[in-house]
């Protein structure tokens, strides 16, 4: 019998081996170092433009040791080594433009490591900094933008970056056959860019909006010499699981893309901008490997513990408190910290449908919030790990500090409910409306994974006679129902933006339409006015005032029972990395920053190996890392 088994397995094994994993390796074109272009005159953006720039009205940003400190990477950084990271998804495509490409994973890894825009943003001050373009110009009326592309900029294959690349990228993004309508909305706000010379490109916006410059200048570029032979459909097909050349510091070789399994970045030694002060100490790992383990958080964590992954981001407080205490963390081989930053926390909580009974009544919404004892949940279930959220823009400068925090207050809630007409309780203990006789019963749609967060709320409401029925739905069905406004309450989270953009979620005219982000049905004339002003306001201070006022108005209507907020990242990593003193950048504030700013510290790695061999203890880190909160205090 045993022999048969062996033969059997061998047969199967041979029949399966090979074949499926043979990756068709296209030859990566060998970099051709094109010589410096000395033919283009300084006026046209060639060498020597720097001296003319300010006379022509161009501006730029110069690196300054005092202000910029280590914000562009630490001078102690060493190049080398591999960073292993495991994500819960494999990208749906390797493109960063077109269908299915608007995922966090794509923008944080592929876009950030392989592609560049004309300008970048200062990680701490958010000022514009040179990237592919060294200088830029904004016209008086804020409608016309000019960029001078750095004549040194090169694609992977050695071709120089020119104005034509900007135009080709814009054309591609405006091609409707890439099946990504949002691109056409964003870049349709501009006329087609014009190549003023080989290195100078200008673009005109169709209307005044302070966001226009941001959108256009940070747009990731693709090479014209490849795009010129492709239309939208062909681009989608050809580059779904292969990578179009970029200008960035990393390259993905075709045979390093193992579909649905992993993809690996290799650092380029010939990155055109590797010596600039903005990039010199960034991008330190020789290889960055991103593997996928779909939908199985537990296995991901086990792999981290087995050192098959170097950094780990802890999402749930339960894991952080209950499951991070073992030999490696106790002995300091594995470090864990909560890193505070100014990453926008986003907006999460229970979203009410204000179009329908019972939440068309403000008093019922208020009562819900007074009964929803999030502090108790934080205490009893979340180990006091979180803060409370009271604003659409929690934890940012845009938060209106006068918002009602809606602390647990059952007396107030009962009062409000009585006012609203819910005075009696029926035999089962549910509140009944005194006139209509309607039982105060509504439905909440959630995904199964959030069950444990919702059942306690259900019990809290039950005590006071509100009947909240829980209904599970899969993600797509749930969103479909929410977008068709077929819900009473739902549990959602909007991600936070560095520059708030309330247009899509607070406009009154969107309230009566389906399929947009005004899921609550929020209407306010004053907010509409403010939104009109916001778009054309170039003064950041005034913009903050506007958003704060909007936030106040929103909080007064209270279409969301805000839940808890977290303004830190819970990170764990094997103790072999060096990192800047601020660890994660001010506004990204997540483990992604390790990809860009961290490096392998050989000494630490040796100490770690030795310690693990001899079971020695290494020093532990304090649990909280608060560089940015301190920075904020000092710079106020």
């Amino acid at each position: 019998m045993k022999n048969t088994l062996l033969i059997f397995i061998t047969l199967m094994f041979i029949s399966c081996g090979g074949g499926d994993n043979k990756s068709v390796s296209k030859k990566t074109p060998q970099p051709i170092r094109t010589n410096k272009d000395l033919t283009t005159s300084a006026e046209d953006g060639g060498y020597g433009f720097e001296d003319l720039a300010s006379g022509l009205g161009y501006q730029t940003y110069k690196w300054d040791k005092k202000i910029d400190k280590t914000y562009f990477g630490d001078p102690k950084a060493k190049k080398g080594g591999t960073l292993n990271y495991i994500h819960s998804l494999f990208p749906r495509t390797m493109r960063v433009i077109g269908q299915n490409s608007s995922q966090v994973l794509n923008s944080r890894t592929i876009e950030a490591l392989c592609y560049e825009g004309l300008l970048g943003q200062h990680p701490t001050t958010l000022d514009f900094i040179p990237r592919l373009a060294s200088h830029w110009l904004i016209s008086e009326d804020k409608m016309l933008f000019k960029f001078r592309i750095n004549p040194d900029a090169r694609w992977w294959d050695g071709n120089p970056v020119t104005a034509e690349d900007v135009i080709a990228t814009w054309d591609l993004r405006m091609d409707e056959t890439i099946l990504s309508p949002s691109e056409q909305i964003a870049y349709g706000k501009f006329e087609r860019p014009i190549a003023e010379s080989q290195y100078i490109v200008s673009v005109k916006a169709k209307s005044v909006n302070w966001r226009n410059f941001l959108y256009f200048s940070t747009m990731a570029l693709h090479p014209n010499h490849i795009l010129k032979d492709l239309d939208g459909t062909a681009f989608l097909e050809e580059y779904t699981f292969s990578v179009i050349p970029g200008t960035g510091p990393y390259i993905i070789n075709e045979n390093n893309i193992k579909n649905q399994e992993s993809y690996t970045f290799d650092r380029r030694d010939d990155y055109w901008d590797k010596d600039s002060p903005f990039n010199r100490y960034k991008f330190n790992f020789d290889r960055v490997k991103v593997s996928a383990i779909k939908d199985n958080d537990a296995l991901q964590y086990e792999k981290f513990k087995k050192r098959e992954q170097d950094i780990f981001n802890v999402n749930r407080s339960r894991r952080w408190i209950e499951e991070t205490d073992f030999e490696a963390t106790q002995k300091g081989w594995m470090k864990k910290q909560r890193v505070f930053s100014e990453k926008p926390a986003g907006t999460s909580g229970y979203y009410f449908n204000m179009r329908e009974w019972p939440f068309d009544d403000k008093r019922v919404r208020y009562a819900f919030c007074y009964l929803y004892d999030r502090e108790k949940m934080n205490r009893e279930m979340y180990y006091n790990e979180y803060g409370m959220m009271n604003s659409l823009y929690s934890g940012t400068v845009y938060e209106n500090q006068n918002n009602n925090p809606f602390k647990y207050n059952p007396e107030k809630a009962i009062e409000l409910l009585n006012e609203a007409g819910y005075t009696q309780r029926n035999k089962n203990g549910w509140l009944v409306h005194e006139k209509t006789g309607k039982v105060l019963s509504f439905e909440i749609v959630i995904q199964k994974t959030s069950e444990y967060m919702v059942t306690p709320v259900q019990q809290m409401l039950k005590e006071y006679g509100l009947d909240m029925q829980i209904k599970f739905m899969d993600y797509n069905t749930m969103i479909k129902n929410v977008n068709a406004r077929k819900f009473n309450v739902c549990s959602l989270a909007y991600s936070g933006l560095i520059y708030p953009n309330p247009e899509g979620s607070l406009r009154s005219e969107l309230a009566d339409q389906n399929d947009n982000n005004n899921v609550w049905g929020f209407k306010s004339d004053r907010v509409d006015e403010l939104l009109d002003e916001y778009d054309i306001c170039f003064d950041q201070k005034r913009r903050i005032e506007i958003i704060q006022e909007i936030d106040g108005l929103f909080s007064d209507a209270h279409p969301i029972a805000f839940s808890i907020a977290r303004n830190y990242s819970r990170m764990m990593w094997w103790d072999k990395f060096g990192y800047p003193e601020w660890m994660l950048s001010r506004y990204v504030g997540e483990f992604w920053d390790a990809f860009y700013y961290w490096w392998i510290d050989d000494a630490k790695e040796k100490t770690l190996e030795l310690a693990m061999e001899q079971e020695n203890k290494l020093p532990l880190l304090p649990i909280d890392m608060k560089y940015w909160p301190k920075y904020l205090l000092e710079n106020k």
Binding site: K427, P456, E463, Q469, I470, F472, M473
Partner: protein, 353 residues
């Protein structure tokens, strides 16, 4: 007419014989007794395991919250906005000692109360207070386990019975009439079986909230096929036998032949299959709950408990409890099944010499 009576009498006595034989098979018999007993008891759970008092005597007046339902705490002079908190009431009555008393169920925790209720903590290990500890939202695991037992068995029982009805009618007709009728239904069943049930469930659950009977309905959609095939085969075989021809020749209608003559004769496989069908039903509910298409939360269910348990593997009581409960139930049903089969089989198994 006379003949018919005899048949019935014989039939009855046959059943009795089988029952007597079943009783001698200790393992199956005891499993049946225990399971039936537990299942009956489980209908009394609200008075055995609950946080609502059975009787409250307050200022010389008797209250029966368990029957009445919602009783505001203020009635008993308790300062709470909603329903009375009987465990605390009992404590305070004892302290004040004015002759007021509360009679609580023997296990005074409900399967729903979580950290919201003062004093409940999550992840409490088993203790005298919480026999099997508490889960990730502070609910009592033992209470949930017991309530889930009742729901699981009821689900499986009803599901099986409905499947049998479907099977007997459709499968019986298919086997009896044969020919084109049979062929048509066979194709229909094949098409039906290829339906991606997950989609059907997603569609249905996006429209209506999954409730107990809805789930039974959905599951019947999938499950009736197997039973139908079984009964079809049985009827097909029986139909060829002489007694059917005899009955038909005496002018009996098709319906009568099917249900009076053939059905009793094909009972053996049908009954033998019953316990396994129950087991399948229980597992089905566990699977549905695990996928999140089961009963609406916070309904206690083994599938949900197992799911939560596996996410908290370091809390052994949360993993162990649902697995053990399911194991014991399945095992006793299997024992019953073995016993039934042996009792119904006319042949003695020859133990080898």
């Amino acid at each position: 007419m006379v003949e018919k009576n005899i048949v019935e009498e014989k039939h009855l006595s046959l059943l009795q014989k089988r029952w007597l034989k079943f009783k001698t098979l200790k393992r199956g018999y005891y499993a049946l007794v225990t399971l039936t007993f537990l299942y009956c008891i489980s209908f009394l759970l609200p008075i055995l395991i609950n946080n609502r008092a059975l009787i409250v005597s307050y200022e010389d007046e008797l209250y029966f919250p368990i029957l009445k339902g919602y009783v505001p705490g203020q009635i008993f002079g308790q300062n709470v906005p909603g329903e009375a908190k009987y465990r605390e009431l009992r404590k305070s009555f004892k302290q004040i000692n004015k002759g007021n008393w509360v009679f609580m169920p023997p296990y005074p925790y409900s399967p729903f109360e979580d950290i919201t209720t003062e004093g409940n903590k999550m992840y409490e290990p088993p203790s005298r207070k919480h026999w099997l500890g508490t889960d990730n939202t502070g609910r009592d695991v033992f209470a949930r386990l017991c309530y889930a037992f009742n729901i699981s068995i009821s689900f499986a029982l009803i599901l099986t019975i409905i499947n049998y009805l479907f099977g007997i009618f459709i499968g019986g007709s298919m086997g009896y009439f044969g020919g084109k009728f049979d062929l048509f239904f066979q194709r229909l069943i094949e098409v039906w079986a290829s339906l991606p049930m997950l989609f059907v469930i997603i569609i249905i659950s996006s429209i209506i909230k999954p409730a107990f009977f809805l789930l039974i309905g959905i599951y019947t959609l999938v499950n009736w096929i197997g039973m139908t095939y079984l009964i079809r085969a049985e009827f097909y075989r029986e139909k060829a036998k002489d007694y059917v021809a005899a009955a038909l020749s005496m002018g009996q209608t098709d319906l009568k032949v099917m249900f009076k003559h053939i059905l009793p004769n094909s009972l053996v496989p049908i009954i033998t299959y019953f316990p396994f069908s129950i087991v399948a039903g229980i597992s089905a509910l566990v699977g549905l709950d695990y996928l999140g298409f089961g009963l609406a939360p916070p309904t206690p269910s083994w599938g949900q408990m197992l799911d939560v348990g596996l996410q908290n593997m370091s809390k052994w009581w949360m993993v162990f409890s649902p697995i053990a409960a399911q194991f014991l139930t399945l095992l006793s049903i299997v024992f019953i099944g073995e016993g039934v089969r042996e009792a119904f089989d006319p042949k003695e198994y020859s133990r080898l010499r």
